[in-house]
Symmetry: C2
Subunit: 222 residues, 2 copies
């Protein structure tokens, strides 16, 4: 169904290939993003891809660049550093959220091209303002960006087990947890539905973004 008919065939380009790869990943997960599959979707030989990308790794780099470029830079403000840090991390999160299957790719190009470097520089700057020495700012900033990716990427089995199966699997996992002996695992049993579903909920993101910023606030400077 996702196969593009020959009549609508457009000229291949890095952009059209990346766009279809993003759509594929959203629909069926990253492991469905295959040179051969993309070629087929464009009605073209697998080898045609190698004109536009030197290999699969550079296709993934392309996806990473696409993700990073979609980060909406927060409007400048004179708010305190922690609020600005929160805003920046949130902008990163918002860009990644529509593409949980791709989120893990974000890191590979953040220290390479323009928009990613700008984000990195800003994070370091804000952490310097917070009073951290450069080395510590680097360690914290690196972890913060990794953590935002984790926040988005950790939603299990994102979409690709066709919706129906996915919901069924969640119901089954909930039931399995609920059937555990309540005297050994009282909290797990009581929280079974939450344990299975929380990573898809909005509150999960807001709460843990907060946790990260609060964590930075709680760290000793030096």
């Amino acid at each position: 169904m996702a196969k593009r008919s020959v009549s609508t065939r457009v000229r291949l380009s890095r952009e059209t290939i990346v766009a279809s790869a993003v759509a594929l990943a959203d629909a069926e997960g990253l492991e469905a993003v295959t040179i051969r599959r993309l070629a087929q979707e464009h009605g073209v030989t697998p080898m045609a891809m190698y004109w536009h990308f030197s290999d699969k790794d550079s296709l993934l780099d392309g996806l990473s660049d696409y993700l990073i470029a979609s980060v909406a830079w927060p409007e400048s403000s004179d708010a305190p550093w922690d609020e600005q840090l929160h805003g920046l991390l949130e902008a990163f999160l918002v860009a990644l959220r529509p593409h949980p299957a791709l989120a893990a790719l974000a890191l590979r190009r953040i220290l390479v091209a323009e928009p990613g470097l700008r984000i990195a520089e800003r994070v370091l700057d804000l952490l310097r303002q917070a009073g951290f020495a450069t080395e510590r700012a680097v360690e914290i900033g690196t972890f913060l960006l990794c953590s935002v990716i984790t926040l988005v990427a950790s939603d299990p089995t994102p979409a690709f087990p066709a919706g129906e199966d996915h919901a069924a699997m969640k119901r089954q996992k909930t039931a399995a947890l609920g059937a555990l002996p309540p005297e050994t695992y009282p909290l797990v049993v009581a929280a079974a539905p939450a344990l299975v579903n929380c990573r898809a909920q909005d509150g999960y993101f807001a709460l843990n973004l907060d946790l990260l910023v609060q964590g930075v606030l709680g760290l000793s400077r030096g």
Copy 2:
């Protein structure tokens, strides 16, 4: 070189297969862990694996179980909840650290079998002691465990580009960052070596484990 000679062939079992898979992942990364490769290492047909594991997914489940089982349960104490939480997360971290290529697998079995459920229950318990309602405790606890995994798994290109190549790549990345225009990216340029290397350093883990616990401390209850 890693191929086991026929004379030393031992009987296959789930345990011996998992052990060799762990060794393979440590040495060459998770994508080297292949049914066919493992079979070859044991001097056996690929299909022999299917007697011990129903499919590759259940092999990965086996690796996940192995990881979780290696968590050393911290000795009981009457320390405040935040110290105990720190100790538990650290125990998880210490278990994962020797196997960065496998760390990402840890989550898939934590809510399934005994030792993982025990960890989950304890995390929820400590967060309840901290004053969080069950639903929030679930959201926080889930993220904390994900974050520890991230901390370990985020070390880029763990080992498998044969050591030499790996070091060379790091030097090259550092040089690339150092060559950026310092007027646009002053902090990135100044911190180039740290940006490339920090995720392999001990301080990175200690600092960010602290960040996580401080983050929980800083969150509002309710």
